[in-house]
Amino acid sequence: MADEEDDIILSELPDDELTLQMHDDLYDGLKEEIEEAVGILLERGWTPYDILTKALVAGMTVVGNDFRDGILFVPEVLLAANAMKGGMAILKPLLVETGAPRMGKMVIGTVKGDIHDIGKNLVSMMMEGAGFEVLDLGINNSVDAYLEALESEQPDILGMSALLTTTMPYMKVVIDTLIEQGKRDDYIVLVGGAPLNEEFGKAIGADAYCRDAAVAVETAKEFVARKHNQMATG
């Protein structure tokens, strides 16, 4: 713990140092500091989109990379996510008002029989941070719940998550139903969860397995860009 005299006064930092400090504060899971810094940048005239991408998403990407490399563990990632959530809560309504760029739309949910949502929530948040509109169906979703949401929302991407080896095969049930109904090619299907791997993703007919939230964002961007290119040339 720093002494009082060493405490950093966020409002006294220039923009570049403040953004770096926000990366550190996200890393340390300091929600109140993140909320304060978001407020300071807004007062200084930053657009909500710039705060989101340059301060929050960039900081969370560092967190994601260190999680992938075994430097950070789940509790620390959750604290960072919680801090980012605080910042997002301030920015979200402003992003709508200011017409921030939209990358695409995603419907996401944890599969039937599974109530684990930590990874899914991180993906939702990072996708929103990257400019995607996300409809989060929550946990324990039947094939009908997915199909209904796909029908009503017409998203670019369907995301499915599972933590249990006993529930992950349900992803194939959803994909097979889409194939049966001739709708499989209408959506980019991304899957993730601790017990999954690339081989499983391929075996069930998903477009990609995403190891973590940062990979999910990059993969989603890549597939959406590819889809748009196909539409442009098709």
Binding site: F73, V74, P75, E76, L78, L79, N82, G113, D114, I115, H116, D117, I118, I139, N140, L164, T165, T166, M168, P195, F200
Partner: protein
């Protein structure tokens, strides 16, 4: 093997267990979390031809490491016995442990995990409980080592609801009748903010499985 072996739960968690194989013909290669139950079954049934080696129980928290650990242990010990039987169920390996056991030509326990085979695989599947968090005798005793500390709840108790907010009940699957353990399990439920249910399972399918192994 018939005499009572003194077990240390912390050692079972981090190091596992190796017993001397006095005249034993079959090695049970098990998860350290099952040592108490397996030794009790060997003792009461007089299965002196069975010996036991346990891998560290904490592998439970890293299922991706179980197949390699089991394979290494089978290769290390198999020359000393007529047969090896792996006392793990799938345990979160997504079929990879079965692939390893099939390749090595050794048997393993049926079912997805110990919660299922203690209750009986059919009965567990029948219940289809989604919002229950399970603990066995061993996991109640080692709750801090398996749940509280690895999830960082000792340092950040405020994360509790992010982990357990979707659960409703802590089901204590009791292998033995021990009021002190029941009280501890009840305390675990309170710490996680969950309702509590005690369900006596005894040894369930573990007993029937080992009975068949002992007979072969």
């Amino acid at each position: 093997m018939a005499e009572r072996v003194k077990l240390n739960d912390s050692t079972l968690t981090t190091d596992g267990l190796t017993l001397p194989s006095v005249d034993a013909r079959v090695l049970l290669l098990a998860c350290g979390a099952l040592a108490h139950e397996i030794l009790a079954l060997i003792r009461v049934n007089g299965w002196s031809h069975l010996s036991l080696t346990c891998l560290p129980a904490i592998l439970h928290n890293h299922p991706d490491r179980i197949p390699d650990a089991v394979e290494a242990a089978v290769l290390k010990h198999r020359a000393d016995y007529d047969a090896v039987f792996v006392v793990y169920a799938d345990c979160g390996t997504g079929g990879q442990l079965k692939t390893v056991c099939d390749r090595l030509g050794v048997g393993m326990v049926e079912g997805p995990h110990c919660y299922s085979f203690f209750e009986g695989n059919d009965a567990f599947a029948e219940r289809g409980e989604v919002t229950s968090f399970f603990l066995t005798d061993f996991l109640v005793k080692q709750f801090d080592a398996f749940v509280w500390k690895p999830l960082g709840l000792d340092r950040h108790p405020d994360l509790r609801d992010m982990y357990f907010g979707n659960y409703e009940t802590l089901v204590y699957q009791a292998q033995t009748d021990d009021p002190a353990l029941t009280a501890k399990a009840q305390d675990c439920a309170a710490r996680l903010g969950l309702k509590f249910e005690r369900r006596f399972t005894g040894y369930g399918d573990l007993e029937t499985t080992l009975r068949a192994v002992a007979k072969d």
